[in-house]
């Protein structure tokens, strides 16, 4: 146990190695190869035995315990890998190796973070203790272990008969989703738990009677969770990257499948949609349509020549745009894609993504379209495409003229029959895609966005914990998380759940107008309607307090090979990182600094 003992142990260890190797070399030099090998083996075994003895002797020391755990983990991993190799379970071998390296990476990163936080400062002290708490109190560790096991195990669950493209997309989607969801839950429980437990178990009495301000305490807690999340996101990101690369090396269904993986999944593509023409053409179309719908249905759209309410305006505009995306029989439409750039990388083509939908039945489920690019035909004769299916046509970069691609699509006259109207979805029915970067940087930006969301959730959990008990604070944080993650969907649902009689209005108008509307509904005996309005109002007010995570969800973009742009990341930093996290921090600090930490006990 003493230092001298330790030195003796090291001396004997060195002696075993030197003597063993020395004798082995001597025997080798004499030409006694077998004896040399045998001696070397014996020396190695003796050295291993001596290490075991050392670990046993100093088993009480934390460092020795760590080293023992590491050695045991490595030995266990090697045994499983050897077993899997012998039995031919390749995916098991890969999964176990992945789990091992992710765990090693995690623990090395943890040591690095603990070393970074070694300086004597209250914020760093609080942060470091939080990390120890996360690892040693098992709550967070459960999530971490689940993640480290899940990411390498996911590829095993994929069906090898599936197209490789879909396998890679599934893996990316599921692994990123698992990372996001599990880390979000861990962050919420850790943040809420650390602060509520310290208040209820009163450890905070000791910390707060030291020279630590309340703000520093919160900052330390946040820093600890944020650093832990950096590590976990990095480890999971590394795992996802490595397993994606391994997955890509698997057998593809066809050369086209492999090309799709490389060009449509493992890429960061920019998607451009055509802009509907502005100006007189569109306003003429709008006026025409408005007149027509008002004549057909004056009850809904209002009498002709009366003022047009905002929601009717928007509805008719949407119809006009949808009409612009529709090509009637024997008609054509030109869609202009601006700011198209040559794709980055060798042998890369611009991808024209289209999903045609016929308004009626088409023979054998195929639609035919004449396509011209910048007034040159895409191919001789019409292109044959399956109805209601996504297609990608490749276009050479040379076709771009002044950053523009003009696609003229014609619904051709067919021999003997008329093809019905063909329409495209206004959101993503027609897109021009070009490769703007690689998968790696896209993955990095995606991980950064996931981390930003976790940073907000950490602050949210801490803030909730400053004035609520563990169950209440967890519930509130989870509610906000779910609402934030599904913000887009919730907004739409609330809008369609109850409609304001006067149409959509601003938040302020709503507050002023809703009481009057409520009274009107109640007076008319429509209690159900009044309730629905009330629920929508509450829901929308709640949604105002929730950041729109949905806008900053990188997973679908990454899995679709779409670029998670720097602009998007910058907006996420600004909105989620600075505004939402900052505001939550200010609220938490304001509550916490005026809170009495002890209870009066009489």
């Amino acid at each position: 146990m003493t230092q001298r003992n330790w030195k003796t142990w090291l001396g004997i260890f060195a002696a075993i190695l030197v003597a063993g190797q020395g004798v082995s070399w001597l025997l080798w030099a004499q030409g006694w190869v077998a004896a040399s090998h045998l001696t070397a083996w014996i020396a190695w075994l003796a050295a291993a035995a001596w290490i075991v003895r050392g670990l046993w002797l100093w088993r009480d020391l934390p460092r020795v315990q760590k080293a023992t755990n590491f050695i045991l983990g490595t030995v266990a991993m090697l045994l499983v890998v050897l077993f899997a190799q012998a039995m031919g379970y390749t995916s098991l071998r890969l999964a176990v190796t992945g789990v091992y390296w992710m765990a090693v990476g995690f623990f090395l990163g943890l040591m690095l973070i603990r070393a970074l936080l070694a300086f004597g400062h209250p914020i760093l002290g609080v942060a470091r203790t939080l990390i120890d708490e996360a690892i040693r109190m098992k709550v967070a560790l459960v999530f971490i272990v689940a993640l480290v096991l899940l990411v390498p195990a996911l590829p095993m669950a994929l069906d090898p008969a599936e197209l490789l493209k879909y396998r890679v997309q599934s893996f990316l989607t599921w692994s990123l989703m698992a990372t996001g969801v599990l880390l979000s839950l861990m962050t919420i429980f850790l943040a809420v738990g650390t602060i509520t437990n310290e208040v209820s178990m009163r450890q905070i009495f000791l910390t707060m009677t030291k020279p630590v301000s309340r703000g520093q305490y919160l900052a330390g807690k946040w820093l600890g969770i944020a650093l832990l999340n950096v590590l976990l996101v990095a480890v999971c990101g590394g795992g996802i990257y490595v397993f994606t690369q391994l997955l890509v090396q698997q057998q593809a269904q066809s050369p086209a499948d492999r090309m799709q993986v490389e060009q449509e999944v493992l890429a960061a593509r920019v998607a451009i949609t055509p802009e509907p023409p502005q100006g007189t053409d569109m306003s003429a179309l709008y006026q025409q349509r408005l007149q027509r719908v008002r004549q057909q249905d004056p009850a809904q759209f209002g009498e002709p020549d009366t003022p047009v309410p905002t929601h009717i305006q928007r509805q008719v505009q949407q119809q006009v745009v949808a009409q612009w995306y529709t090509i009637g029989p024997r008609q054509s439409q030109t869609y202009v894609f601006r700011n198209v750039r040559a794709p980055v990388g060798e042998n890369q083509a611009i991808q024209f993504r289209l999903k045609p939908r016929a308004a009626g039945t088409v023979p054998e489920g195929y639609v035919h379209l004449d396509i011209r690019i910048n007034d040159r035909p895409y191919q001789a004769g019409p292109v044959r495409l399956s109805d209601d299916t996504v297609h990608i046509l490749r276009i050479r970069a040379e076709a771009i003229e002044n950053g523009e691609l003009r696609m003229t699509i014609r619904n051709p006259a067919m021999n003997g029959w008329e093809q019905p109207s063909i329409s495209f979805n206004t959101a993503d029915g027609l897109q021009m895609l070009y490769r703007a970067g690689g998968f790696e940087s896209n993955l990095l930006r995606s991980l950064a966005m996931i981390w930003l969301r976790l940073g907000f959730l950490a602050m949210l959990g801490l803030t909730a914990g400053t004035f609520m008990s563990f169950p209440t604070a967890s519930l509130l944080s989870l509610m906000v998380y779910v609402a934030a993650a599904a913000s887009g969907f919730l907004h739409e649902s609330l809008q369609s759940y109850a409609t304001f009689p006067g149409g959509e209005m601003s938040a302020w108008d709503r507050i002023v107008a809703v009481p009057a509307l409520l009274f009107a509904s109640l007076a008319a005996g429509e209690i159900g309607e009044a309730l629905k309005l009330l629920i929508r109002l509450f829901g929308q007010t709640f949604m105002l307090l929730v950041p729109a995570f949905g806008e900053f969800n990188p997973t679908p973009l990454l899995a679709d090979g779409l670029t998670v742009s720097w602009t998007l990341l910058r907006n996420a930093i600004l909105q989620v990182g600075l505004i939402w996290t900052g505001l939550t921090a200010v609220v938490g600090w304001a509550i916490f600094r005026s809170r009495e930490l002890a209870r009066v006990t009489v």
């Binding site: 000791l206 707060m208 009677t209 020279p211 002890a598 009066v600 009489v602």
Partner: protein, 427 residues
């Protein structure tokens, strides 16, 4: 031995600077309100308190008398409903003053997942202590509280007494000017209790201020200079221990054992002066003294224990400068140890000098020689035996004397009562 003791049990401490107030509470009130903000209970009711630099101040009272609430307000953990508090002249929630405060709560609230060393490391960081400085202090403190052998075990596995010890160590990590102890001896065995009391006295002699909150009256009586007795949220009585406890109408005389004849002579003499002896008895030693002697003997014999080691290091640690002359190398080590702890934190990342602390306040004020020697003898006897193989002590390990200051006993009355005959008996 029959001892006639006429000296005050607590000699006035000249080191106490009574002019400077460390804690001042004026009309301090804490009302406990319910959910509807209705006043329910007055936990503390318009109390005035003053704790001066260098004194040991006791806050006494039964359970629920408001002493813990008062302490929590002084620490800024509760906000007063009315009245004012100044700690080192500042608001109690001022972060800067916390550098000067050490606090041991009534129960030790520790992170169960940290071990003793990590626990102290954590609290050291909060004081901006540099790594080297921190490590040095931690080792010294662990040794002092007898937990150096079990420092790698999570504190969640510690017994209550061991948790108290680590709690005490964290309260001392910043070498505080003001030490606030809430029921410090709860859960401690008599050895630990004695150590805490010795520590309090030692810190006091090193110029520190101690605010002690307890309902264990014997503890308070042994160490406090002044006490406030609280009940129902109000201070019922306040004053020095001597003022509060002295029975002006009686005089106790202590001397070596007297024969029946001697006693009769004393009685006659007193009768001549119009007084009479009310009671003559053989004094008993305290149970605490007996207990500590037994433990001390067991330790000297080398009996084994799995708990915290005793206070051998504590004795050396606490002796400070005063003990250096009377003891061997162990004493020097203890002195060096406490000096290391108390020396200005020159490695601190962010050292903030207290504006209220006079220069050299951390240095020990020169105590009276007799006091120091007496205290050292007691500590030495109590604690020397806890080392596994103690070096033969230079002083005989005679049973400790709980009643201090024989040298200061005014024997003139006794001499005149018994004349030369008694003196010859003594010789």
């Amino acid at each position: 031995m029959t001892t006639f003791d006429t000296t005050p049990r607590h000699a006035p401490d000249h080191s106490a600077d009574t002019s400077e107030l460390i804690v001042k509470c004026v009309q301090l009130t804490k009302m406990f309100r319910d959910f509807w903000m209705r006043n329910r209970v007055k936990a503390v009711n318009a109390i005035d308190l003053e704790v001066r630099r260098g004194e040991v101040f006791g806050l006494l009272g039964p359970n629920g008398s408001g002493k813990s609430t008062t302490i929590k307000m002084i620490l800024g953990l509760l906000h007063p409903t009315a009245g004012r508090i100044a700690v080192f002249g500042h608001h109690p929630r001022d972060v800067a003053i916390k550098k000067q405060i050490g606090f041991l709560p009534e129960e030790t609230y520790l992170y169960r997942f940290l071990n003793a060393r990590e626990t102290l490391d954590y609290y050291g960081r909060l004081f901006h202590q540099h790594r080297r400085h921190r490590k040095q202090r931690i080792e010294t403190l662990l040794e002092m509280v007898g937990l150096d052998k079990v420092a790698n075990r999570p504190v969640g596995e510690y017994s209550k007494g061991m948790q108290r010890r680590i709690g005490l160590a964290q309260a001392l990590i910043n070498d505080p000017q003001l030490l606030i102890l809430d029921e410090p001896t709860t859960g401690l065995d008599p050895i630990g209790t004695r150590q805490i009391k010795d520590l309090i006295l030692e810190l006091k002699h090193r110029g520190k201020t101690i605010l002690l909150c307890s309902h264990l009256l014997a503890d308070v009586e042994d160490v406090c200079d002044r006490v406030s007795i609280m009940f129902g949220g109000k201070v019922r009585r306040e004053g020095t221990v001597d003022q509060l406890l002295v029975q002006e109408s009686l005089t106790n005389i202590q001397t070596s054992q007297l024969s029946a004849d001697d006693i009769e002579a004393v009685e006659q003499l007193l009768q001549q002066r119009g007084k009479h002896v009310e009671r003559v008895e053989q004094p008993r030693q305290k149970l605490e003294t007996l207990f500590l002697n037994i433990v001390h003997e067991a330790q000297t014999e080398g009996a084994d224990t799995s708990g915290a080691t005793g206070g051998g290091p504590l004795a050396g640690f606490l002796r400070g400068e005063e003990g250096a002359a009377a003891h061997s190398g162990q004493a020097d080590e203890g002195e060096a140890m406490i000096n290391r702890l108390t020396e200005p934190a020159k490695w601190d990342d962010d050292t903030v000098e207290s504006p209220h602390e006079p220069a050299g306040a951390t240095k020990t004020p020169p105590p009276e020689a007799g006091q120091a020697v007496e205290r050292d003898a007691v500590l030495d006897d109590l604690l020397a035996g806890s080392e596994p193989a103690p070096a033969p002590p230079k002083k005989p390990t005679s049973p400790p004397e709980p009643e201090p200051n024989d040298e200061d006993v005014d024997t003139s009355v006794l001499d005149s009562l018994l004349g030369d005959e008694t003196k010859q008996d003594k010789q």
